[in-house]
Amino acid sequence: MTAARQLHPVPAVALVGAVLGIGSYLVAVTRAGVTARVAGQRLGLAAITVAPLRRARRLLGQQVTTTERPDSATWVLAPAAYAGLAALALSVVPLGPGTAVADVDTGIVVFGAAEVLAVVAFYLHGWSPNSPLALAAGYRHVAAALSYALLSMFVLIAAALPAQSLGIGAIVDSQAGLWNVLRQPLGLPLLLVVALGVTASGPLDLLDGTDLAGGGGAEDSGVQRLAWEGARAVMLVAFAAGAAAVFLGGWHGPLLPGWAWMALKTAAVAGLLVVVQVQGARVSAERFVAVSWTVLLPLAFLDLLAAGVVAL
């Protein structure tokens, strides 16, 4: 099953770094563009493409303020862990035929573990500043996270059924004939809900929500803020790549080389997510928890059952 060409750690780091770096930049540019469009502001392409860079430069030169008695170590750990987990999630996703950093046999377990470990980052992001609004925002996002984590487990297990393996490479292989998005139509929408939660954005922007004056990020400034925003974008890229591999057939596609198909599909999922992020109104944590357990989770049951019947 691990017939994939194994990358050495050094090129692996370079590959993941390049994908996440370029990907998160493109995500930031797309978000700037979509936001400007929704806002009805006519900004030139040049202004939109440099907007993320200008923003980063501004934050780099800014003081990193602190609060009266923060947990400084965990405050730094939150974005670091978040970015690291994005890299972990991406590392188990094959980016081309046989080109994965670590196409391990338990790919979807590691992918899911990265996703739930991100909850630790969310918790620490809200907890560390010792600030009431950040604390409330962190806790409500953890509630949402505990709800969506189950969805992704069901959806990924369903995708693993036809592949007879938990490895993501094998799941891509199993889609040579028919993509999972058609075979398991409920899977991708549910996984996109999870993606919104894992990136704490759009309808699930409960962690840094504007209704709590920035919530967990209310006390972040300068590089601290840049790191968190960057980690969020990076996680979006990693998750989009995972969704493209598991549901959109990964590298399968005519004419173009495999990696190009993978890049296109990842970009498509990421673009869709950015549009939802900009266009989605925040839902309250209490309502999301209720809906997630009583509507989305039964849908995930259904998805798994249907996938099971189809796979036999």
Binding site: T2, L77, A80, A102, I108, L146, A149, M153, Q224, A311
Partner: protein, 118 residues
Amino acid sequence: MLSAFAAALAVTLVAAAAVAAAVVVARRRGPRPSTAPQRVPVLGGEQPPTHAWSRYHARYYPMALVFVAFEMEMMFMYPWAAAYVAEGGKALVEMGMFLAILSVGLVYAWREGAFRWQ
């Protein structure tokens, strides 16, 4: 297999270390340290009388407990998924039973209002 995990671990640690280093350097070598009024948590101008850290009343504690049990049960399903096609109809029945058990727990928890804010 091990080299794959080693590569994944390396990638994870490098990414985390890069971000952590950037933030730590910025905190250490930033323009200036925060002063007392600057350190007051953001509340829109007023000071908080107490620290925010407290025995925080997470309103969804029954949901968190149900989640732990649910999730533990789910961990059985991963290896089951890998063996599913090979085992055929038996596995389907097995899954039906499993989902039925989970559904009973889910319906019960919902009926008792475990998913509402307490």
